[in-house]
Symmetry: C2
Subunit: 246 residues, 2 copies
DNA sequence: GAAGTGTAATTGGTTCAACCATTGAACACA
DNA sequence: TGTGTTCAATGGTTGAACCAATTACACTTC
């Protein structure tokens, strides 16, 4: 400080925004989404026209569209009837974001299995209350497919069908938060299993059959118990394999 | 079908990928992250150099970097010591992705409150088992700040401090999946509350005090019960406001 | 020597003007 | 009717240039 008499201090000052142009553009488009002025299926004007409207170069505008595309808000299609279309959000960005965290090593296998027990148990409970006939049919077809894959020794297909079971169950709850979360947990599990290698076990399929019976009977407590028991066995199985594998 | 003798069908054919250049670049960089060749804090070469290495123009390379930046994997800094730095993932992309879903209307308030009950209850249970002295101190300071904000009638600060309580509790579990998920749920709650307006209530703070006592005593069952009861009351409160407000 | 000051180098941000590649629809033709 | 062709629209990519922020460093000043 040089002169106390002229020093006015810096309180009340904030760092200037210095927001990049493409961020401001993406913000404005997001705003129209939140306000309902833009809804799923709508098409934005062509890039050249949008660039003119925002008074930026086409490159800068493209970076803004790229940001929205990665966030899963718009889909870009080439060709005569192409353009930027507003997507009906399916949560792909959130799923990819969690999968990236796992890839970065921020999430360790025991965190993943713990979260799966928490979410999976409550998904089973809610699904048994809300499942419709169509959900039950889809789940039964899934278990049958798993049995067939096991019979012909196709372990890769078996793993995929198992992930799909959890996704179907989550959809039966009708809660999109649980659906997205389950999808993300399965995506992380897939990465994890790819790393340690899939090892078949004998207790999952019988558990599935018991779970289906509870779902059919709408016995929420029994369904939750069955799922929790199965996931805890799976946790010991996975973490054992991880401990030996690392 | 014209000639059954020459018709071979289309089974086994799949649409060709036609991946865009920037996607392939982002994939390669992601791969290095997953393999551990790149880790948090590392700096990628300057854009001009990278563009040369991938044999693409600088614009295309920038779209790849933009994609990685939006995904939260890298951070771009200007200036002499600038460049693309690998970020220590904090899950911002996943959080933003879920918040976008809420903004798009795919997630309705009852879905949000249901998920909060499930996650919050189990977070309280795990936190009471694993909390350390520092967690307890931070939570106590938070509750004190909430009481002060209430005393001076600052409802906006009060709301923020309340969200922070749940985030702190999630951190005490030590599970990054639960941390990211809680952050995302709080972010969605903030949007929701901003829309319907914050209305103070009298039962949250007493519940906080009881919860702190359970945490201090490491009584997991009581902590979970307290949190679940509070969240269910909050659910009725919020949904009631939403029902009248829409 | 310590602290401030100016300057140059580095690097991301943006612009501009092209051209390429894909897509779908209009259209001609058998 | 259907089949192939042409063409306009639109996103994808390129390359060169300049702007703007940031840092490192030599230089001055006390």
């Amino acid at each position: 400080m040089r002169g106390a008499a002229t020093e006015a201090g810096t309180r009340g000052f904030r760092p200037v925004a210095a927001r990049r142009a493409f961020e401001e553009i993406a913000r404005q488009i997001r705003e129209r989404l939140a306000s309902g002025a833009l809804k799923a299926g709508d098409r934005l004007p062509p890039e050249r026209e949008l660039a003119g409207a925002f008074a930026v170069s086409r490159n800068t505008l493209r970076e803004a569209l790229r940001a929205l595309e990665i966030a899963g808000l718009v889909e870009l299609r080439k060709g005569a009837a192409g353009g930027a279309f507003i997507r009906a959000g399916g949560g792909e960005a959130a799923i990819a974001g969690l999968a990236d965290l796992f890839r970065l090593g921020a999430i360790r296998p025991e965190h993943l299995t713990e979260a799966r027990i928490i979410v999976g148990t409550e998904v089973a409970r809610l699904a048994s209350r809300r499942r419709r006939a169509a959900d039950l049919a889809a789940l039964e077809a899934n278990v049958r497919a798993a049995e067939e894959a096991t019979a012909r020794g196709d372990m890769s297909a078996r793993a995929e069908i198992n992930y799909e079971f959890h996704r179907l169950l989550a959809r039966a709850t009708g809660n999109p938060v649980l659906i997205v979360l389950t999808d993300a947990l399965m995506e992380m599990t897939r990465h994890f299993v790819n790393r340690i290698g899939y090892r078949p076990n004998r207790y999952v399929l019988p558990s599935r059959r018991r779970l289906l019976a509870h779902l059919k009977a709408r016995d929420a407590a029994a369904a939750a118990r069955e799922m929790e028991t199965m996931l805890r066995r799976l946790q010991r199985w996975h973490l054992g394999a991880y401990g030996r594998g690392r």
